[in-house]
Symmetry: C2
Subunit: 246 residues, 2 copies
DNA sequence: CAGTGGTCTAGACCACCTC
DNA sequence: AGGTGGTCTAGACCACTGA
């Protein structure tokens, strides 16, 4: 009867999950930012008044979800998209033959608009709110690979322009982090096959109507808050989308 | 200098990984089969002469990879595809709107052939070795969703026929397990967009040449041994392939 | 060398399941 | 009541990093 409660159960969580929630809150609040080191397990343990093993288990879970990265001998670091090693953490592009040539990003267009019903719902903003639309091309060794159409909430990216995109790095998300303090944490993708329309056919240099792999991505930050909606058209003559199932 | 060795390093692994390897070997050898319970952590600890915590960590890893499933109060069980809860562990099919109707499998054809170069390489068998080719349709609420063309090494599935497939369950993998002792553990998928050929267009009831999502899957059992090669054509008018990125 | 995460142990208690 | 996995602790030692 120890856990008995009137009405709905509050679903007690173990200590290490509460610790995890506390650490996550510090991430959200920006106490430790992506790329930075977080306090040692021993220090967190004494701060929260629990054993090191409990902190360890909390961090283990967060490391499993790529929220943080452990480095033996150095410490534990907040995950970032600016680290070259995890530049393209969310990119599942691979070459049909051989290894994928390092992809390069070519920003094409960037303009402002008002959110339609679909975009507003997906980004959890008001219909009619300001949004930014970006189009860009991803090339791999001079071969067009992916054509992206990206929808961003204007509020989070106040001054974004094509020039800024052009001067930025290949990883859009490293720009999100460094310039706007927006930290992509995870993403959800829906894959379909579609016929190339005129625009994507021209950009990807394929025949209009030829089959393209459409990848719709909703990118989320801490607290599952959406920060990006993206439609990516993959040219799959020379490339494919790689997925591992366990 | 403790770990110094002449020539290439043997890459010492921690105790819990060695324990994990021992447990995995017992799975491979069939000492405990899918669906069955494995010995308790305490018993494994005493059997291997290590602490329960070490066994726990080994099993933790295996549970994270879906090799085993923990059930509090009951025990730890070898993962199976026969459990209704994990019928479609490898299926990423989802409905564009609403929830996916429970899919049903319709076996269409089943014949024997000799492995060509491609199939032989993928299945790691000799070119010219006996293979079995299966075609089937997956429907969701009477709507055609996925057309599968499946290549199997003949050696592993000696007596497979269309009749057996027809009398089997929705999950092909539950048949693999129950009738042939073949246990799919993980899979690797390559996704592309292609134009529907005559056969798949007819089966999926779409126009010839319309875009389809092609999912090529290599299915592996213990020790990363390939046991199946599959080409799946997804009709993505009403459905999509769902992928989560962390 | 000191500091970090990584491993391993032993023991206590809790939550859940079955008999 | 007895068995299982789940949590939590405390302490020891190892492996890696950088000053």
């Amino acid at each position: 009867m120890k856990n008995a409660v009137p009405f709905a159960a509050p679903t007690f969580s173990p200590l290490y999950r509460q610790i995890r929630a506390l650490i996550t809150r510090s991430l959200e609040s920006g106490e430790w930012r992506p790329g930075e080191i977080i306090p040692s397990e021993a220090e967190l343990a004494s701060r929260f008044g629990v054993s090191q093993g409990t902190v360890r288990k909390a961090i283990d879970e967060m490391a499993a979800e790529n929220l943080v990265v452990r480095r033996q001998g150095k410490g534990t670091f907040v995950s970032t998209h600016m680290d070259p090693d995890s530049y393209s953490r969310f990119l599942r592009l691979a070459a049909n033959e051989g290894k994928l040539q390092a992809p390069t990003s070519v920003p094409l267009e960037c303009w402002r608009a008002k959110a339609g019903a679909d975009v507003a719902r997906t980004l959890a903003i008001e219909a009619g709110a300001a949004i930014i639309i970006v189009r860009r091309l991803l090339r791999s060794g001079n071969v067009p690979a992916v054509f992206d159409e990206i929808y961003l909430p204007g509020e989070l990216f106040p001054d974004l322009t094509l020039d800024i995109l052009k001067s930025a790095d290949i990883s859009l998300y490293s720009l999100f982090e460094s310039r706007y303090g927006v930290y992509p944490v995870r993403a959800d993708e829906r894959l379909r096959a579609v016929a190339a329309d005129r625009v994507s056919a021209r950009v990807l240099q394929v025949a209009e109507g030829s089959p393209l792999l459409l990848v719709e991505r909703v990118t989320l930050t801490y607290g599952d808050k959406p920060v990006e909606w993206r439609r990516a058209y993959y040219s799959t003559q020379d490339f494919h989308y790689h997925s591992e199932l366990g």
